[in-house]
Symmetry: C4
Subunit: 234 residues, 4 copies
């Protein structure tokens, strides 16, 4: 194909805003030191469509532009000429197909989280910041090779019905989901933060999971109370 | 309510300067890598009033402006329309009510300090920089859930009568106090610094607390001699 | 000698572009925290010549300019007046003489990779990012003193016929090779990244090498599928 | 006193250049993450005088200006009105009085080096970069309280006749010396770098000191061959 099918003005506008958002949020991956060279990527659904926008493959973060973001269908196929999409696109696409409530997916190999993944060990929910954001341990998904639906299947099997928006794919790295790209990026940032803190804590003694009722109370409050009322702040 | 009660010109000026100071000092939290996403906050008393200024909830650090800082009474209630205050405001407010000598409070989840907190273990006063600034071990406060006065009560119970301006709240993070916001921020910066150094030191052998008379001598000198004479430098 | 022998306009242009590329890529060494003070260096062949361009010795990274890059023959001798070449030039030159397929060489003492080198221990291929880029463990080369061909000989003996573009020289640091300077720099960046992740992973339990068939599949795919089609992206 | 005694134009010029150099080099301490808040300082002799220039006490690095640098005699007494000198000035001054070959002194509490100091353990000379710069283990000096000559005496007793330009003062931090401020700053930067690398290396197995003849060969070459010929580069 050579170009997107004709889009309504509203959809074209939504697509353009999604390109801008996805492009800009990649800067958060570098700012919080979650990625090395070109190793992480963000995708987001285009509201009101069956399309997603994702990072192009192998392009460095400072070279990204809204126009270079790749538009794909929910099977990961690009719908216009241009850059090739991330080599992780199949995994993202599978998640969108299987989890309609997911608006965005982020993938990183952030250092401490990937260290837990290298051992295939979940991060225990040992500090309040983790109960707030993840509501549970950060789980480990199965080992899967890149290409095809295996990684996506592992993500969905692990995160469906789980409070955590982050999964550590065995021997690989992190995938996070969110209602939008900002939420999924935040989950990736917080995943590395708590993976690092709990890693360090365990170096000098055992670290225990918080009691379940405290986890529940913290998670419930954070999801429902924290942040600005709608429309008052970013 | 819709606006602050009428303020004298002097108080209005003091309030504006406090907003500017509190806003600007949040940049120190990011500069020294004490915070992730929106995870830390600073408050300061408005001189000559029963008011405090605190970070708005869930707003990223680069989006903060003096005008977005939230003015609250000493029970943590906002006194004007605008952003919601930090979800940690109750804890800050309790400290101001109970410790009139405290002019500012800082809260972070800085990595190494929170790693000690995750084990519920105080940082032993093992290096001279720690004796200078903290005059003792950095103590651990009780586990408490967010909301209401429990966290504030734990901070006050731990720091009242203690030389250390920093407390590690069990499984949670760091709170520091100071005569003003700059002092409390400095305590938060130094808390992470010494928590990291002592953490690393212990990885290759035991680390002993300094003898008490050395701690006393260092603390006394640092509090009374260090820095510029009044009015000669920042 | 006082100047390069007369060059054809094409060669002069190729030389100038190589100077610019090698100079600019040193900024990636500082950006990814691979070097301290003046401790790392990059060289690249000048296409169509028997010349290489390399960092001047002892010059800090922010003082580098394309003009200060040093042009040497394949025995490491400068071919014009100017700055002295890196004290590691002999090692680079040996690699170019013995491995004609190598277009660039990078040397660093990056922290985690050098920590493995200090123990003389290869980094096991335990995570998918490592299988992608290195296709195997990152091997250790022999101890060798600087000066003469000993280091170069050790690099070639270790990397010839090995998939890994990186070698940890015993008690010393990292050398990487690539078809061009960007590839060799990427290998140096990824070497530190995986050395750090596997180091951290092993702090809390054993880390196993990936099964050989998975390493083979990942390496094959990454070398052949990843990135943009020729000419579509940087 | 209110002002410096009358200086010859040459000396006034030398003093001004020393102020500028010392001020500017403090930016290297922050760039290489050697200091926290106001915790490190640099001093340098004013060539051709019995004066030194040193950081003012308690002033943050971004507020430093050449004019705010403090000029002291070799007993640490300021020779003009203005800022108070660093609280470490007595230690610097003692070194200048006792070691006339020393042109500059740097003090930091850099993290990994201070972690070794907290255990009172020298850093073994286990990697080639360490043999190059330090020519030996980095030694530990005695515990000493700040104020008076005790710290200076410990530095001199440890470094006199030692190849290493760096000493780890027990339970305290790092002092380095050099022929000029740039050399002493470089020693402080490299001290943290090798302290970190050897710390990490030992986390996964024993690390052995290099054989003495290799240390000697590396140190000799680095001191005599490395860098640009006089006058060709910074």
């Amino acid at each position: 194909m050579t170009a997107l099918p004709a889009l309504s003005p509203e959809t074209a506008e939504a697509l353009q805003r999604t390109r801008e958002r996805v492009c800009a949020l990649h800067a958060e991956l570098t700012r919080w030191n979650l990625v090395t060279w070109t190793s992480g990527n963000i995708s987001e659904r285009v509201p009101g469509t069956e399309l997603i926008v994702i990072k192009p493959s192998g392009v460095t973060y400072e070279d990204l532009t809204p126009a270079s973001m790749v538009v794909c269908d929910l099977y990961g196929a690009p719908v216009e000429d241009g850059c090739s999409p991330s080599s992780d696109t199949d995994a993202h696409a599978y998640v969108y197909r299987e989890m309609p409530e997911v608006g965005a997916v982020v993938h990183t190999h952030s250092t401490y989280a990937t260290a837990w993944a290298a051992r295939g060990e979940p991060v225990p929910c040992a500090i309040t910041a983790m109960a707030d954001e993840f509501g549970d341990d950060i789980p480990v998904g199965p080992f899967a090779l890149i290409g095809g639906d295996d990684i996506g299947r592992g993500i969905v099997a692990t995160l469906r019905g789980h409070r955590s928006p982050a999964v550590l794919m065995d021997r690989h790295g992190v995938f996070t989901i969110g209602k939008d790209a900002k939420s999924a990026v935040k989950a990736a940032v917080m995943c590395e933060d708590v993976a690092r803190t709990v890693h360090l804590a365990r170096q000098h003694g055992p670290v225990e999971r918080l009691p379940q009722e405290h986890i529940d109370a913290l998670y419930d409050r954070y999801q429902n109370v924290y942040g600005q009322r709608k429309g008052t702040a970013s």
